[in-house]
């Protein structure tokens, strides 16, 4: 306990410096902005801002990027409540009851409870990260290559289950992502793999190109091809602060949502997306009168909003302790860290304690700032939402172009991104999701490295993955998750959750 406090004290002493406070605020502000704007998410934004962070000290860079990520969760809910369009994937469920509350003249209360719930979740998640970091790092040191490979496989299994649509298609996307990650020089022998003599491919397919193509431009293409009914709430937003009755109703859902989101967020394989869905389903089940849900039940906003924020923050745990990025945003963090010569993993905490605890402490400060950014400034965001999409999307296109060009100062990257985007668009039309592909790509190199190392150590004995207990348990978990998802009964329920 006392070490926890001394760790946090170290963290706050780092985070409380003027430049770091400024970067944290900037990150939260940008995060809220892109969260509010539908059609551009944290993946595209962080890719775009990566070159900017090259000139910053590593702590500052990570503090800012982290702020963008959890700030986007706040901003996403604003759009969900006011426009009935999820600003981010994680705020899909918030559209159900949040927008209904807004239509009943309680937009302010919905926004207020979302912000308060998120703030509570952010505080708890910060403490959870701080408390779990040390023990998990110890566990990580016991991990050999077989365990790492098994953990990543289990994570990919989760990613498959959490993706929408056909399981088989998701598996195919994970495999395609893994396959793409093998392009480039082989790590052990240096042999060129599938580069076709293109020099820029020898370092591998650029992650920024893939992320920006699939999540920046392809997103714009998708949005243009569907008619979007924008339903901006007109009239007054109403009081922002929930009254005593609202608070009483929301307190328990906020606590439950926070815990659920925090636990699911730790799972490798983008568990953060699952949190809000699970929380919504739970609240509906626990409610005395489930029919209120979908008609503006405040619990349906409080729970999921807390869950998505908690999940966004605890998803830092696998990255900081095991060195495994659980989702695409965390993979970009890996990029930001390696540029500064920091290898993500269990050693970060001992070698760079001020970075580790500084980033964690900044999350708490960031949540405080987000409360200020979101509630008093709500008028600014509402005005922003009134910018028509016909102007918004060309602006997104040009900013993404400048961003992807700046990553390597290469027009070739921009060209390649255009093609990736067209492939991404075609994939969507065929019912393929981009998220599992990106996660497969992110984990591919690490997975291959550990797989080959484990096989080399065991001299080609495949049973090593099931005779080592930790590895066996991890693989079994992944397998159970997959089997359960394929079972007809559960599958129907899963679809139900996503349809809702």
């Amino acid at each position: 306990m006392s070490t926890l406090i001394s760790h946090l004290a170290l963290g706050f002493s780092v985070a409380f410096t003027v430049p770091n406070l400024g970067l944290c605020f900037l990150g939260c502000l940008v995060g809220t902005l892109i969260g509010v704007l539908p059609g551009i998410g944290p993946i595209a934004t962080i890719t775009m801002l990566l070159p900017v962070t090259f000139g910053l000290p590593p702590v500052g860079a990570l503090i800012m990027l982290a702020g963008i990520y959890y700030g986007a969760q706040y901003g996403g809910s604003t759009t969900a409540i006011l426009v009935n369009i999820p600003g981010e994937v994680t705020s899909v469920v918030t559209t159900l009851d949040g927008h209904q509350m807004a239509r009943r003249g309680r937009a302010g209360v919905a926004l207020g409870i979302a912000a308060l719930g998120s703030f509570f979740a952010g505080c708890v998640a910060t403490l959870i990260i701080a408390a779990l970091a040390v023990p998990l790092t110890r566990v990580a040191l016991l991990f050999g290559p077989a365990e790492y490979a098994a953990l990543m496989t289990a994570g990919l299994a989760f990613a498959v289950v959490l993706a929408r649509g056909s399981i088989l298609k998701s598996i195919a996307m994970v495999l395609l992502g893994l396959l793409l990650s093998t392009v480039g020089n082989d790590l052990e022998t240096g042999a060129e793999r599938m580069t076709f003599g293109v020099a820029s491919l020898s370092d591998g397919f650029d992650f920024a190109v893939l992320a920006m193509g699939l999540f920046g431009f392809a997103e714009v293409m998708r949005n243009l091809s569907v008619e979007q009914a924008r339903d901006v709430v007109h009239g007054a937003i109403g009081p922002l602060l929930p009254d005593a009755a609202d608070l009483r109703q929301s307190a328990a859902p906020i606590v439950r949502g926070t815990l659920l989101g925090a636990i699911l967020g730790i799972l490798p394989g983008n568990g953060a997306v699952l949190g809000p869905f699970a929380s919504y389903a739970l609240e509906k089940k626990l409610a005395r009168d489930p029919s209120r849900f979908g008609r503006g039940a405040i619990e349906g906003v409080a729970g999921p909003e807390s869950a998505n924020n908690a999940g966004a923050q605890t998803s830092f745990i696998p990255l900081l302790t095991l060195g495994i990025p659980p989702n695409a945003v965390m993979a970009l963090m890996v990029g930001a860290m390696t540029i500064h010569g920091i290898v993500p993993g269990p050693l970060v905490m001992t070698r760079n304690p001020s970075l580790f605890w500084g980033v964690i402490a900044s999350m708490w400060l960031g949540n405080l700032m987000l409360l200020v950014i979101n509630l008093p400034l709500i008028g600014v965001w509402v005005r922003l939402l009134k910018v028509p999409y016909r102007l918004l999307f060309p602006a997104i296109v040009i900013v993404c172009c400048v961003g992807i060009y700046s990553v390597n100062n290469s027009p070739g990257d921009v060209l390649l991104t255009a093609f990736v985007a067209l492939f991404g668009y075609a994939g969507t039309r065929l019912g393929f999701e981009s998220a599992p592909l990106l996660l497969g790509f992110v984990l591919g190199r690490l997975l291959e490295e550990n797989l080959r190392r484990a096989l080399a150590i065991s001299r080609g004995d495949l049973t090593v993955f099931v005779t080592r207990p930790v590895s066996a348990w991890l693989l079994l978990t992944g397998l159970i998750v997959l089997v359960v998802a394929v079972l007809p009964g559960i599958r129907a329920r899963r679809e139900e959750v996503f349809v809702e």
Partner: protein, 156 residues
């Protein structure tokens, strides 16, 4: 013999494209050494992945004959192609003559992707956004983006 009916055209096309990608990858990794299980070579993992990918593609094709699913649906092309074209135009003009031209050009081409576009409004908007980009990325963030480059005459 009963006539085979495709019950999920979208899945059939999806599966077939996966098989195509898989075959391509198997062909592309053919020169790489596979190694043994105890000493996996550079071609080992990619080839395993390609085969698994092909298998899932084949599975999708088979399922599309037995299980009803989505139709292939509409493929609106105007939007995606124009967005792609806008990005390509940006890539070709960013080095020479620079963002001053590449910015408005990309915005105007992208704007054609939406039927709601009002041209006069977009023209003014494109200049304003480009100015903002120069201010933000070049002046504020010091990124080395070519603003205006006229070879042998002028560079900014």
């Amino acid at each position: 013999m009963r006539k085979v009916r495709v019950r999920a055209p979208q899945d059939l096309v999806a599966g077939a494209s996966l098989v195509a990608v898989s075959l391509f990858a198997i062909w592309a990794t053919a020169p790489l050494a596979g190694g043994r299980l105890g000493a996996p070579g550079p071609g080992f993992v990619p080839r395993v992945l390609a085969v698994l990918l092909g298998a899932s593609g084949a599975g999708l094709c088979l399922l599309s004959l037995t299980r009803a699913g989505e139709p292939l649906g509409r493929w609106p092309l105007r939007g995606p192609l124009l967005i792609g074209l806008a990005v390509v135009a940006f890539a070709l003009t960013i080095r020479v003559p620079g963002l001053v031209v590449a910015g408005p050009l990309a915005i105007l081409v992208a704007g054609a992707a939406s039927p709601e576009t009002r041209w006069r409004e977009l023209a003014i908007f494109s200049v304003a956004v480009t100015a903002c980009c120069i201010g933000l990325f070049r002046t504020l963030l010091h990124l080395p983006i070519p603003v205006l480059v006229l070879p042998g005459w002028f560079t900014l």
